[in-house]
Amino acid sequence: MPWRVEFEYSRFSQQELDAWQPILTPSWAISIFTVIGLIFIPVGLASLFASESVVEVPFRYDDECLPPDYKDDALEYIQNDNINKTCTRNLTIKNKMKAPIYVYYQLGNFYQNHRRYVKSRDDKQLRNKASENDVGSCSPEDYTSTELGHKPIVPCGIIAWSLFNDTYRISSNNKDLVINKKNIAWKSDQLAKFGSDVYPKNFQIGGLIGGARLNESIPLSEQEDLIVWMRTAALPTFRKLYGKIETDIEVNEEVMLVIENNYNTYEFGGRKSLVLSTTTWVGGRNHFLGMAYILIGGVSLLLAVGFLLLYVMQPRPLGDPSYLSWNRNPGSLR
């Protein structure tokens, strides 16, 4: 292809722009490793320290709350509405927990990230009353059955349908520790994603009941449990915020948990836990990041020292042409 462009001979067109030519000299390498080490170790320590200060009390109850009679028939237990699902346990808190104490439920082996699941929702319907009939991506939970008039379900889709419906009460010394369920969802979701004029309709009324029912007089934007649930989790084991306790729990205080064990995870062997946890700037109790930072910081420092030693023992003058391959190998010289 013939190609003609009018040129002015500039430093750009001659490829002679002033530029910085970085060269990975030993001093650069050593200083970079040192800097990494010096930054990573303190950050790691701080993070580890913060994570260490978090008090976390997990309590797995899916097997714990299964009455011994139903040990081999968990499905019968969970599917039979006539069996009382209330389960009461006492826990001793070993460390002082400062308010706010977050109450989470943790599900295991629940693939909220399954492609069929993630897609089964309709964001237009959730936001906007006018799009109530918009259930396009929601099947198989899009319309009620024909007997019930084949009406669109609000909120549609299997995410909403499978809404978690265990409930917790926590008390200490016969005094309820109030679990505040307000402000557990993201403000942005409440304001813009879930409409304040969209009310649940035809939800959970026929066929198989997947989980919790919704109060039809409360708009979706106030249904915080739903909003939390609809932020589907990234990994098959996940926590969701249930509520917040705004009083401290003292050392060795005994708390009583009253759990309504309604949600069917026995079907697929999913684990259920209740988790009480405080939080700091790093989030929950997870030492991984802190340890990793310290480890890599240490490795970097070691490498820096290693390079320094090697370089002292085997220095090579920079840009010495005698190291060029054709100079190094005298046989090649004519």
């Binding site: 530029a19 970085p22 399954h114 319309y143 299997i158 813009a192 079907e267 090697l310 840009g319």
Partner: protein
């Protein structure tokens, strides 16, 4: 040295060269009257009513406004890459597979289509412009008995057109008549075959008489062959007034030629528009693909294997998972196989097609998710990058030829990077190494040597007196004042007479046509009127002859008129009209040429010039004094040829009346003879070409182009072998070889001059035995060198052939071949190239440092290129300027055309074109090196960039029950390779440079990096893939561990991954950038900013499920710490290896870079670096 026969002089190529493409047509040109085209002269309507002749409108453009869209799409989808895109997009439209949203999935395809369509549209617009310029030119066409201007596009077959001097021919035209009574016309065919000299065409005697300047009374019928692309043949009949006669090649003038030296011609259009031979020949040269790209395709194959494996793993995982959970599928809250409400779909499966189908669909949908594993966008990126690289090559000031005002041209955009790996350069000699401007340099007249001190004569000194005609030559020729003085001496001494005859011979014994330019020349003398000054230009088939005639003119013997019977020479102001009684043209047997001239005083002389070998045997023997002159002349000739000059011997003889009569009668017989005419003429020539009197000898210089020896030396240091392939004589070739430092005196010259297969075979075998060249598989190793090259590993060829082991050792090769030079001629090549001796030649030739091939035909040039190309993986480059280099240029991996004296044929066939040979040095050593390094890195980086992303998705899929969920939003997945990471790639591919051009030119050996495949090889590919694997694992696992058992939602995770991977690949790139200019900073950091921008925008649209994610995430310190940790940990191994390599095992390039930076800091240090070798 001898005269070169006109038909074999490299500049007159028309008989030897045919465009390769036309060869296949040759056999088919069998002319039958019944299937020919009928052309009714001056009756275009009748001509065109029966046949669907094309109008004269030409179209090189591909599209019109209307058909652009469908046609462009159709053409675009011929590319595999686009079909891949299309297939993926189509797959995604199937309901069970819809991984991405419908619009999103079409985005990459649309983007690519739009970019390409835009580029195509722009190119086509330019073609439209040039077409309409052509089509709207005007010519005089006979319309209602008068010649009136008509636009070219309206001219039809059958039209009678009149062309004036210097006009371009609008269509293929059969001559009817010309301004010359005899019907001769001169045309220049530069645009067609690249020859700058004039060619003669004739109108048939039958028609010339019927043609007047303003009218044409011819009204016959021409039956001609159907249109074809063979520009050297034409067969037709013309029927005029019931009389039928044949037309041939010499009667047709082709479109694109220019009428010269002829006042006007009148002719009838036989082929118009697209049917003209020029248009039929304008087919594009075959497109080439770069070596690196073919390696890249091999690696792409590996990537598709990875892709297949990954998809298979996902599908298998899905299958196993379904089998394990097949009883729960109905009730699993996150799967829900069936519609359970009692609706119309009651009990039906919801998007569930059974385990085998689900597995299969899962395979397909994972192809969609992992599609960018095959870096299709790389092809588009590469195109852009090459475009940018071309911009810099074109704009390079050092490759601008100020003399001709030509810039470097990139005619092919596919093989920029091949320039960095060239191992063999095949060069034409004349016009490529030399300037192809013949100049009369030395003369030996009457045994005396002239020309050692030459002066530019201010003007024709002999014509100082006013009143005399002053001839101004186009170019000034320096003259020897002593010789001028001798000519002006009014003496009758032998010396003076000999000199006089010497120059008369130069002026008369040739076939050159003088052309008097009509333009007035600016006065060159003070106050002198310029009416007597005319400029004169000589046109002829042989530049040597032109040089001789020009030289004669400079010494006062100006040939200024040539008609069929006589010539007029201005001898120092006196007009001398000479009758040409006969002319024996040059042929390769006699190797001389003679004319028989009758002088005004009725003396008849035969004037001869020829090669020394053929001349000395026919000189008159006898007189003592002659012997002295002979010896002097001989020694002068030796001296000249040692200097690389082309020599001719000049002699003459008086003819007696009886001799003349005898000759004349036989000459007439022979020249009208119908059989064996040339042999008969040759015999007759012998009658008069004998007992000649030696006048002297001439020496013509074909000057080397500027900078050629330096360029060749640099190329050689760079490990590039330069072979010279020339049509010239062996002696000339060797002398040029010496003067351009290709050969040195201390080299062992192996000369292969065989005349039979056996002889050639023996010569080759002897040479191989003598110089210890090993056979075939062991490559070119010299036993003597093997002892000191233990470290060498496999021999050179294995080394270069297998990419994975770049163990090429430059030292070894140079050591063995330092002293060998192979000189081989065309005749031997005939036997060698066509027989089994090829491999013998290959062994020998590759072990020589220099190879000179002389007297080679164009196709042999291609054959030699092919010899190397087919036997090694080394890249070849052919450089030439003439039409005879076309086949070689097209055969070589890279073809370079020199825009020189010989028109544009070579340039049209070439991939790159430039003004001078010496630019090759910068082109290869600097631009080639850069292009190679850039493209090599670009490819590896693109592989990495896409693979790391895909692998990251792959690991995640294992956490989603193999359901091909992507945590990233659809738009981020699609924009990743299109917007988030594409700009820095292109910028780096175009702009990054590892070393400055000064360093690269100073150390030509740095070019070896390309030979060793340092920038791109299998090993690097696998290392890159390992690195990619590590980085993808880090990308995946760090967030997974950090956010284990947390409330993190899928979109936050996706957002984190999006940002991490974009920052990671950009920082990875930043680590490898050699040169940071402002634009690099903008591109690299800008990309990260743009990514954040896009993520913020995507997270601000409430209808997306990921609404608000980034605002939440960015508030958490853990998020930032995770990103930082990912970047550092992912790049740590790479950085470590880089540091180790750089510090302890530096490559040549790295050392040179250090030296460069250091010398920038302390300029004085540069002087301390010894220049290699």
């Amino acid at each position: 040295m001898e005269h070169i026969p006109p038909s074999e002089i490299p500049h007159s190529r028309h008989r030897r060269v045919r465009p390769k493409s036309s060869v296949q047509f040759d056999d088919k040109v069998i002319f039958h009257d019944d299937n020919g085209n009928l052309i009714y002269v001056n009756d275009p309507i009748k001509t065109n009513e029966k046949y669907e002749f094309a109008g004269n409108e030409i179209r090189t453009s591909r599209y019109t406004l209307l058909n652009f869209l469908p046609k462009n799409l159709f053409i675009q989808f011929h590319r595999v890459a686009y079909l891949y895109f299309l297939a993926i997009a189509a797959l995604n439209q199937l309901p069970p597979l819809a991984v991405f949203g419908r619009t999103v999935s079409l985005f990459p395809l649309l983007f690519v289509l739009c970019v390409t369509a835009f580029k195509d549209a722009y190119e086509d617009w330019r073609r439209h412009r040039s077409d309409s310029h052509e089509n709207n030119r005007q010519s005089l066409v006979l319309q209602s008995a008068q010649f009136r201007p008509k636009r070219w596009k309206n001219i039809q077959a059958g039209d009678v057109v009149k062309i004036l001097a210097d006009e371009m021919i609008p269509a293929d035209i059969v001559l009817l008549g010309t301004s010359d009574q005899s019907g001769v016309a001169y045309i220049q065919t530069m645009n067609l075959d690249g020859e700058s000299n004039l060619k003669t065409r004739y109108a048939k005697q039958e028609t010339t008489s019927l043609v007047l300047p303003d009218a044409c009374a011819v009204s016959g019928v021409i039956t001609c062959e159907p249109p074809n692309r063979n520009i050297y043949e034409f067969t037709a009949n013309m029927e005029l007034n019931g009389h039928k006669f044949p037309l041939n090649q010499s009667n047709i003038v082709l479109r694109g030629c220019v009428l010269k030296n002829t006042e006007w011609i009148i002719g009838v259009v036989v082929y118009a528009g697209q049917q003209t031979k020029a248009m039929l020949n304008s087919a594009a040269s075959p497109s080439k693909r770069s070596k690196l790209e073919s390696y890249m395709n091999r690696e792409t194959f590996w990537l598709s294997v990875f892709l297949f494996i990954m998809c298979a793993v996902v599908a298998l995982g899905m299958g196993l998972w379904l089998v394990r959970h097949k009883d729960q599928l109905d009730t699993l809250p996150y799967y829900r196989k069936t519609y359970v409400t009692n609706g119309p779909d009651n009990g039906k499966h919801y998007r569930y097609y059974g385990i085998p189908m689900e597995t299969f669909f899962s395979f397909l949908s994972s192809i969609i998710v992992f599609q960018i594993m095959i870096p299709i966008s790389l092809y588009i990126t590469m195109e852009l990058v090459r475009l940018g690289q071309s911009y810099f090559m074109i704009g390079d000031r050092d490759m601008y030829d100020a003399n001709s005002g030509t810039r470097f041209q990139c005619r092919s955009l596919n093989i920029n990077e091949d320039l960095g790996q060239i191992r063999y350069v095949f060069s034409d000699k004349t016009g490529t190494l030399t300037e192809n401007k013949m100049q009369f340099k030395r003369a030996s007249v009457h045994g005396k040597n002239y020309g050692s001190s030459l002066l530019i004569a201010g003007n024709n000194t002999a014509a100082a007196d006013s009143g005399k005609q002053i001839w101004k030559l186009k170019s000034e020729i320096p003259v020897d004042s002593e010789l001028v003085a001798l000519l002006q001496k009014d003496s009758n001494r032998d010396e003076r007479i000999t000199a006089h005859e010497f120059f008369l011979t130069l002026a008369a014994c040739n076939t050159v046509i003088p052309i008097i330019c009509s333009s007035t020349f600016p006065s060159c003398g003070k106050g002198e009127s310029n009416k007597n000054i005319e400029c004169i230009d000589y046109q002829g088939e042989s530049p040597d002859e032109q040089a001789l005639v020009s030289a004669a003119s400079a010494y006062g013997y100006t040939l200024f008129e040539r008609t069929s019977g006589n010539i007029v020479i201005d001898v120092n102001g006196e007009k001398l009209r000479l009758d040409v009684l006969g002319l024996h043209e040059f042929d390769s047997v006699r190797k001389r040429m003679s004319v028989v001239i009758r002088f005004p005083d009725n003396v008849v002389k035969v004037l001869v010039k020829g090669a020394d070998t053929s001349m000395f045997s026919i000189l008159a023997h006898g007189e003592e004094s002659n012997n002295g002159i002979w010896q002097e002349t001989q020694s002068h000739l030796n001296e000249y040829s040692l200097q690389g000059l082309r020599t001719l011997v000049i002699a003459s003889r008086d003819l007696s009346d009886s001799e003349l009569e005898e000759w004349q009668s036989m000459y007439e017989d022979a020249s009208t003879s119908l059989t064996d005419r040339s042999a008969k003429l040759r015999q007759i020539a012998a009658l008069i070409e004998c007992k000649l009197k030696l006048l002297g000898a001439t020496a013509i210089e074909d000057r080397l182009q500027e900078g050629v020896p330096e360029a060749i030396e640099s190329l050689r240091q760079a490990g590039i072998k330069v072979w010279v392939l020339t049509g010239d004589k062996q002696e000339t070739a060797i002398s040029i070889g010496l003067s351009c430092k290709l050969l040195s005196v201390d080299m062992q010259q192996i000369v292969i001059n065989g005349t039979s297969e056996v002889e050639c075979s023996n010569l080759l075998a002897d040479a191989k035995a003598k110089y210890g060249v090993r056979s075939s598989s062991r490559g070119h190793q010299n036993p003597k060198c093997e002892t000191d090259s233990k470290h060498g590993g496999p021999d050179i060829h294995n080394g270069t052939k297998s990419l994975s082991m770049p163990k090429w050792n430059p030292g070894k090769e140079e050591g063995t071949t330092a002293q060998l030079a192979l000189i081989i001629d065309g005749t031997s090549l005939v036997y060698i190239l066509e027989k089994e001796l090829q491999s013998e030649l290959f062994d020998l030739a590759t072990s020589c440092r220099v190879v000179l091939c002389c007297r080679v035909a164009p196709l042999q040039k291609a054959g030699i290129v092919d010899l190397i190309k087919s036997r090694t993986d080394d890249l070849t480059l052919a450089i030439g300027d003439g039409a005879n280099d076309v086949s070689m240029i097209q055969m070589a991996d890279v073809g370079v055309g020199i825009c020189g004296q010989e028109g544009r044929q070579a340039v049209m066939a070439s991939d790159f074109a430039m003004g001078q040979f010496q630019f090759l040095k910068k082109l290869l050593l600097v631009h080639g090196h850069w292009n190679y390094q850039r493209i090599g890195y670009l490819v590896l980086y693109n592989f990495y960039r896409n693979a790391v992303f895909v692998l990251m998705l792959f690991w995640y899929i294992s956490c989603t029950a193999f359901s091909t969920t992507s945590a990233l939003t659809d738009w981020s997945s699609v924009l990743y390779s299109v917007i988030y990471t594409s700009i820095p790639t292109v910028i780096v591919g175009v702009l990054d440079k590892d070393l400055s051009h000064r360093t690269l030119l100073q150390y030509p050996k740095l070019y070896g990096a390309g030979h060793r495949h340092e920038a791109y090889n299998m090993q690097l590919f696998w290392i890159t893939m390992l690195d990619t694997l590590w980085q993808s694992l880090v990308l995946f696992y760090i967030p997974v561990f950090t956010y284990k058992d947390s409330t993190l939602d899928i979109w936050s995770m996706g957002s984190l991954w999006t940002i991490s991977v974009v920052i990671l690949v950009n920082v990875h790139l930043a680590m490898d950038i050699n040169q940071w200019a402002l634009v690099n900073h903008v591109a690299v950091w800008g990309s990260i900013v743009i990514t954040y921008g896009c993520v913020v925008i995507l997270d601000s649209i409430p209808v997306f499920p990921n609404y608000g994610t980034i605002y939440h995430l960015a508030r958490s310190p853990t998020y930032w710490m995770t990103i930082l940790f990912i970047i550092i940990l992912a790049l740590l191994p790479r950085f470590f290896c880089k540091a180790v390599c750089q510090i302890f095992y530096p490559s040549d390039i790295q050392i040179a870079r250090e030296a460069e930076t250091k010398s920038k800091q302390h300029d004085d240090l540069r002087s301390k670096l010894p220049i290699s070798n």
